[in-house]
Symmetry: none
Subunit: 264 residues, 2 copies
DNA sequence: GGCACTATGTCCACAATATAGACATCGCCT
DNA sequence: AGGCGATGTCTATATTGTGGACATAGTGCC
């Protein structure tokens, strides 16, 4: 349980103080779409300049970061991309889920997502697009909040009551749209409803004009390990379609859970 | 040049000794297809057990690594995807391109690559394998040079004359094989020919026995943002196949460019 | 069933490491 | 010129990480 605790609190493993600093710098660089130069970097992390120089030099030496000669910026390097690619390729959940997700996409012709929990967020680990051109601007590796998305709510709805309360206690229910649940008790009720019917519904709670239906995926021990969702713009969503898609999503998640139990 | 030196020698940045240990552990985990448990891990890295425990705990705390309860193995975690997301997805180029690349692979049954430019190199951001066992040893995240590869030459051929000259001026035309272009003027002529016919050809210029055909992908403003290629061993390459594949590659790149214009 | 051996996990005194302030240098604006 | 901010480097000091040693659980052998 100690691992979980550390993960949640932003970590405080004994003997990892410096490593956490390296990660802070790496995250800063990762978050800058166009890279950062030393000046910006020293401003964006809370360490003295001398330290930042050393941290960056180490990251460069490990090829996690590359230094662009042209404009002096630091960006993510090939080593990190390699590691990320491996993560993606070797994820059992993703591999198992893929064929089901493709079927789900074919049946709905909408964007299908697969996400896993990480630090009180959901991280997308796969995405299959529909044929429609109007689409969401999510991407693999992108992260979204638990309380305002169908994958997040689906995952939450799969937790035991104790764990749910524990996690809810740590969340900040930030408002994204008018419809976002910002009251813990109302959210809890919504989640319990989701648990009962087997799917969570995001009714423009994260982004205006986007509705999503999501269901949790469980490992053999019954812990929710991820969630899938189908997303669509409001104008393609109506009661009939909702019912059809919700039942497809629920069934697909169940199938993935079953397949997972056999394989792992 | 000092950076390069460090990278090659396994690194020796002052004040990064512990970080390098973290990376060693991370790489070990990354290299194990099915993950490693503590026992295997302590054997595969040259650190005392106490230290390994701490290193792993820190990696888990940062979510670079996850601990599977069921079998006790450690595997790469979602944080890596999160970090690489912005770079890796490259404005959804990868997502958009994927289905086209799969079709291209199906049509050719050869390895298909998608690469984007980065620091005067091309970095592979996707790879789809053919069914043949003889394949290239490239990997996602790997980088190759501009002047000796079809993706590199394809990207270069998509540049305006001014930009092309600018970039060519910065390149060192390192020789990889007998056939590598090492003379800037001859390379420039080859690139202009490539631009006219819509695809670049790597005729064993990067690796002996490997030939590749590549075409650039453009964003809406006409800037080349990446390139795709089909690679094959010499013995599977003949004039007929060349013509067929070249036209497929060209058409696929055009399709991706078109789709990109609609979405972005 | 008992014993030996190996694997697993934790602790802490010490040594190696990272830190952050101070110094040196450069370039830009007034 | 001269002042100011940004950039890069150095090093004494304190914090951090280290790894051997201990405690415990698990496994195989006789």
């Amino acid at each position: 349980m100690q691992d979980d605790e550390n993960a949640r609190t932003g970590n405080q493993v004994q003997g990892a103080a410096s490593f956490s600093k390296f990660m802070t710098v790496l995250q800063s660089i990762a978050d800058a779409p166009r890279g950062l130069d030393i000046g910006q970097l020293t401003k964006s992390v809370p360490f003295p300049r001398g330290t930042v120089y050393r941290l960056v030099a180490a990251l460069v030496a490990e090829q996690l970061v590359v230094h662009h000669r042209e404009d002096g910026t630091y960006r993510l390097g090939p080593r990190l991309l390699q590691l990320a690619a491996k993560t993606w390729e070797s994820s059992d959940l993703r591999t198992v889920a893929r064929e089901f997700l493709v079927s789900l996409r074919d049946a709905t012709d909408e964007v299908v997502h697969l996400a896993v929990p990480s630090s009180n967020r959901m991280v997308y680990i796969d995405k299959i697009e529909g044929s429609n051109t109007v689409q969401m601007k999510t991407s693999i590796g992108g992260q979204v909040e638990l309380h305002s998305t169908s994958v997040g709510k689906a995952w939450l709805s799969g937790l035991s009551d104790d764990r749910l309360n524990e996690v809810l206690g740590q969340l900040t229910l930030r408002r994204h749209t008018e419809k976002t649940y910002t009251d813990p008790d109302r959210l809890r009720k919504e989640l319990i409803k989701s648990r009962e019917r087997g799917y969570a519904f995001d009714d423009e709670e994260n982004e205006p004009d986007i509705r999503c239906v999501g269901s949790p995926i469980f490992d053999r021990s019954g812990e929710p390990v991820g969630a899938i969702s189908v997303s669509m713009p409001v104008y393609r969503h109506d009661p009939e379609r909702h019912a059809k898609i919700a039942s497809l999503v629920f069934k697909t998640a169940k199938d993935i859970t079953a397949k997972l139990a056999v394989i792992i």
